[in-house]
């Protein structure tokens, strides 16, 4: 199914007699998930709970003149109603979550509108009632008087001088001089190197284009859901589906003005997130309703609410200009990126800028990014946030360059590829990267050799994502029978419990079936940053391995005690202590089980906890090939074949690494072909459901061949690099380049839906 390419010269910490890492055991949470027992966000109930629901703005931009909830309050069964007035007004305070860093003031206003509703679906009030029907009736009885304001949704329209302003107090950051007037442009960022004019002057060939993408949703199948209880003594409990229970705790504390120790958040199984569950929407509302009503409150979004009120990623307008020598050497690149942020600042344009040219070694370039607020839902992180968008523009332009130069698209990319020791476009010098290896892998793949038929086309594109580390905690407890429990604070979205158990088992030298991995609530394990940014296997895995190493040290100490030797004379191999004391060579080895059985006598329970802030996550690179066939009469596109090669460092559980790659590709194909937010003239979302927001279905896709290239990351005990983000970066352009090859026409506006393709074919016919 997949090839594994090892590069042994760098593999100093991987592949050394690994017994567990690199195998494909059945995931420890699997049986619960195939039998319906796994408890997701909406599967939990508290005694006496009420049903909470949200009243949402029907307007894209409106001043909230008044909210009259008297009739609703009088309805029997209504126990609480909250509006913006029930939440503290927060000062500007940045909570660093990376490129989508959130201002907590904005977060609070996104959770519940104050004086203005900034998008169709913005929460303006919430009720808690004894039943769903009563809650619905109560929502209908709340009278909100709106003063409808002009709205703006397209990014370039929002940047215009005369655009309606979302926030009167926003002055563009990042310009040479602070502007004298507010605007919708939150920030400009710029990365540059060399002499752009000289670079273009040195070019023999220049290509350029304007590219657009539409807002797309993460599309997790599980709607947001939580149950929250605010007890009379102020102790709060939250059960919710999110990418980080500690994130939920922090944000609830900030939005509601609570102390962190008063909030305990228990992570439910999470039904997909892809970045979309890295923030809160319902939890603070449920807590506020619980406080007011004195009952636990359960809230579950409808699919319509998920689309209208939770984070899509940005729509964009982009300009790319590339110059190259006839031999393919790229001499200059000028990239301008304009990203929708939605109602509040914080589009991922910064990451989009930093990743845009990260696969290329280009002496002269300039990348300019604009973060622009619009009357659309506040964007949330979506898998490699910002990177697929800018990669779409750049990879289409590189494809055009290859065509103009008459070069093979992979050869052109190889010629300009970043390699170890070269400076990344965003600054630092690359080390231990496996980019050219992924190019080599697709070039030599069987897929690249298959001849194409009529109306078929092949596209190539590459992608980059940084991957991150960060704060994680892991605890490892050895049971008296020699089995172990590994506890972490990271929700398991895609099988991370399996990789945690595998890494612990490897480090302990025992079978993976002897290790049970648990994801604990915020009161039961130390702080861990959320599951996202492809950090869990790397950073939390590092904590797990270090905890296991501490346990091994302790086991050796216990064995030494049992044998009455020095701990220096104990060796730990494959889960067994060996006595090295020359005077006591008769001591039979002691298994973990045997040592654990003596733990009471030798000092008590054997366990270890490690909290760390992991640094040195290795960047991820991917190279993809996509084949499509066009129906020239209808403009329909069929994806015939797809191959994705990626540097994964070291695949801990290869099946779930392949799964990450395949899933990212599928999302990217959907983004390229059919997914988009469609708004009507009044700024209301027209396709807030899975019928008309068209995510790929099983019959839309072929098998997706995942090629894992393993160039180990020396900072990780087994060489792992994050794998979840980068697979979504190349597909937009890989599909678009395949469509260009099949039609002979470059299309620059996503999605490449049938009407658009038929229109360009008609235009081509003349």
């Amino acid at each position: 199914m997949s090839d594994v390419l090892d590069r042994p010269d760098i593999g100093h910490n991987a592949g050394d007699d690994l017994k567990v890492v690199g195998t494909r055991p059945i995931r420890p949470d699997g049986a619960d998930k195939v039998t319906g027992r796994a408890a997701f966000g909406a599967d939990f109930n508290m005694p006496g709970q009420l049903v909470g629901k949200v009243l949402r703005s029907p307007h894209a931009h409106a001043r909230i003149v008044s909210i009259d909830a008297k009739k609703a309050r009088a309805l029997p069964g209504v126990k609480a109603i909250v509006t913006g007035a029930d939440f503290p007004n927060l000062a500007d305070e940045f909570h660093e979550g990376g490129e989508a860093a959130s201002n907590l003031r904005d977060l609070a206003m996104n959770v519940m509108a104050r004086d203005k509703a900034l998008y169709d679906g913005h929460a303006v009030a919430a009720v808690a009632a004894t039943s769903s029907a009563v809650a619905d009736e109560a929502l209908a009885l709340i009278t909100v008087v709106y003063e409808v304001l002009p709205h703006v949704q397209e990014v370039e329209a929002a940047m215009a001088q005369d655009a309606p302003l979302l926030h009167g107090r926003m002055f563009t950051e990042g310009l040479e001089a602070r502007p004298d007037k507010p605007s919708n442009i939150a920030k400009r960022n710029r990365i540059a190197r060399g002499d752009l004019d000289a670079g273009f002057a040195a070019a023999d060939v220049i290509v350029e284009g304007r590219y657009t993408t539409q807002a797309v949703h993460q599309g997790y199948i599980e709607p947001h859901a939580c149950v929250a209880s605010w007890a009379a003594d102020g102790q709060c409990s939250v059960w919710s589906s999110s990418q980080g229970q500690f994130m939920v705790r922090t944000y609830c504390a900030k939005v509601l003005g609570l102390e962190i120790s008063n909030i305990r958040v228990t992570p439910a199984e999470i039904g997909g997130g892809f970045g979309g569950k890295t923030t809160v929407y319902l939890e603070p509302l449920a807590l506020a309703l619980s406080r007011q009503s004195g009952h636990p409150v359960k809230m579950v979004m409808t699919r319509d609410e998920v689309f209208r009120a939770t984070g899509p990623t940005s729509g964009s307008v982009m300009y790319v200009r590339l110059g190259a020598k006839t031999d393919g050497t790229i001499t200059a690149a000028d990239v301008e990126l304009k990203y929708q942020a939605g109602a509040f600042p914080g589009s991922p344009v910064g990451a989009g800028s930093m990743t845009a040219l990260a696969c290329y070694h280009i002496p002269n370039f300039r990348i300019t990014g604009w973060d622009v607020v619009t009357n659309t839902p506040k964007v949330a992180a979506y898998r490699a946030p910002g990177a697929p968008i800018s990669a779409f523009a750049v990879e289409c332009a590189v494809d055009d360059l290859a065509l103009k130069l008459g070069m093979d698209p992979i050869a052109l990319r190889e010629k300009n590829a970043v390699r170890d020791g070269m400076k990344a476009s965003y600054g630092p010098t690359f080390q231990n990267i496996g980019y050219v290896e992924t190019l080599e892998a697709i070039k030599t793949s069987p897929h690249y050799q298959i001849p194409l038929g009529p109306n078929q086309g092949r596209g190539v594109a590459v992608g980059f994502w940084f991957n991150v580390g960060g704060e994680s905690t892991a605890a490892l407890h050895v049971g008296e029978d020699g089995t172990a429990v590994v506890v972490t604070g990271n929700p398991d979205i895609g099988g991370s419990r399996a990789s945690m158990a595998m890494m612990a088992a490897e480090a302990l030298g025992i079978g993976v079936e002897k290790v049970r991995p648990i994801v604990a609530d915020t009161a039961s394990i130390g702080f861990s940053m959320l599951t996202g940014g492809s950090r869990t296997t790397f950073a939390t895995g590092m904590a797990v391995v270090q905890a296991a190493e501490k346990v091994v040290a302790e086991l050796k100490r216990r064995a030494a005690l049992i044998w009455e030797v020095s701990a220096d004379h104990v060796a730990w191999r494959e889960g067994v202590a060996h006595c090295l004391d020359p005077a006591k060579t008769d001591k039979p080895p002691l298994s973990l089980e045997a040592i654990a059985a003596q733990s009471a006598r030798t000092g008590g329970p054997i366990s270890a906890q490690v909290s760390l802030n992991a640094q040195g996550a290795g960047p991820g690179f991917a190279a993809h090939i996509c084949d499509v066939e066009i129906d020239p009469e209808t403009g329909g596109v069929t994806v015939l074949r797809y191959t994705a090669a990626q540097d994964v460092g070291k695949a801990i559980h290869p099946a779930y690494v392949e799964g990450q790659i395949q899933g990212g590709v599928a999302q990217g194909v959907g983004w390229a072909l059919n997914e988009e937010y469609i708004f009507d003239r009044d700024g209301k979302m027209e396709n807030a459901g899975f019928l008309d927001y068209r995510v790929p279905v099983a019959s839309d896709l072929p098998m997706i061949d995942a090629i894992m290239v393993e160039v180990p990351n020396p900072r990780h005990p087994f060489g792992a690099k994050g794998v979840g983000e980068v697979p979504i970066v190349p597909p937009l352009a890989a599909v678009a380049n395949a469509v260009r090859a099949a039609t002979g026409v470059r299309m620059c506006d996503l999605p490449l839906s049938p009407p658009k393709i038929r229109a360009v074919l008609d235009a081509k016919e003349g």
């Binding site: 009469e633 209808t634 019928l691 038929r758």
Partner: protein, 288 residues
């Protein structure tokens, strides 16, 4: 609180009585009604489930005609070998409605009476000259399928009336039909354009009878008379296909919406009419 009752009458007469009240809605498969209920677009007082009426579920043959009970699921229709052989176009149109799951519930009568301009089975039924058997306070009457929908979401059924059966006529030899639709994905979408074609050939392969119907290009599914004229007398040669394409496009009165532009729909109507005709012709034993 809004009142809602659910009734599942065992006879057509009881159903007529139940449907006589204000705010009553007939439910066959329920795959449209339940979505409308949830979205608040339908607010009936009473839901009258037709599935327990004797004869409402099932397919029987009478003198070569097929009588399909109103509450017969798409899945059951797809499993009926004789029906598939006689009316492959109607069956494939029916089986395109929604997912496998929706096929377990969705019905021809429901697809028709929901009165969506984009209903997949309707153009196929119109092309097939299907007839509805309607029961109501005034007794029993029959009406051709094309007489049922009057506008999006509206039907010609009188209060208290419901479709009990759909009849597909007997087929002569060398006759067949086909239905094609265009959707952006491969499944799970509403038709951007649908085209149903039913043909009868003579021994020489000349088309002696043709019915062409288009969906999603006007407020209701269209019966395109000029398209029939384009085909009759031909062996589906290039000229006939070109005339068919033109007639189909001429008949279109589409809107532009989130699912497709008017211009695109019009072009595709011609494409699909041609392709469906070719399939029907081949199925009927013609050699193009």
């Amino acid at each position: 609180m809004s009142q809602l009752d659910y009734l599942a009458p065992a006879t057509a007469d009881e159903a007529v009585k139940a449907l006589g009240g204000a705010g009553a809605r007939a439910m066959a498969g329920g795959t449209d009604l339940l979505v409308q209920l949830r979205a608040g677009r339908a607010k009936p007082n009473v839901i009258v489930d037709l599935k327990r009426i004797a004869g409402a579920v099932g397919i029987r043959q009478e003198a070569g005609a097929f009588i399909i009970g109103a509450a017969t699921s798409g899945a059951a229709i797809g499993e009926h070998a004789a029906l598939v052989k006689a009316w492959p176009g109607v069956v494939e149109a029916t089986n395109l409605i929604g997912s496998t799951q929706v096929q377990g519930r969705a019905t021809l009568a429901g697809n028709l009476c929901n009165a969506s301009p984009a209903a997949d089975s309707v153009p196929a039924m119109i092309a097939a000259r299907a007839v509805c058997v309607i029961i109501g306070p005034g007794g029993r009457r029959e009406a051709p399928v094309e007489a049922i929908c009057t506008a999006p979401g509206r039907t010609s059924l009188a209060p208290g009336e419901f479709v009990l059966e759909i009849r597909l006529p007997a087929r002569p030899a060398r006759a067949s039909d086909a239905y094609l639709r265009l959707i952006p994905r491969t499944e799970m979408d509403i038709a951007v354009v649908g085209a149903g074609v039913s043909l009868v050939l003579d021994g020489a392969g000349v088309i002696t009878d043709a019915q062409v119907s288009l969906g999603a290009v006007a407020p209701t599914a269209l019966l395109v008379a000029d398209a029939s004229l384009a085909l009759v007398g031909s062996k589906l040669d290039e000229a006939a296909l070109a005339k068919l394409d033109a007639a189909a496009r001429d008949a279109c009165r589409p809107i532009s919406d989130k699912r497709g532009t008017a211009e695109y729909r019009t072009k595709i109507a011609g494409v699909l009419a041609r392709r469906a005709a070719a399939i029907a012709y081949s199925r009927a034993g013609g050699q193009a």
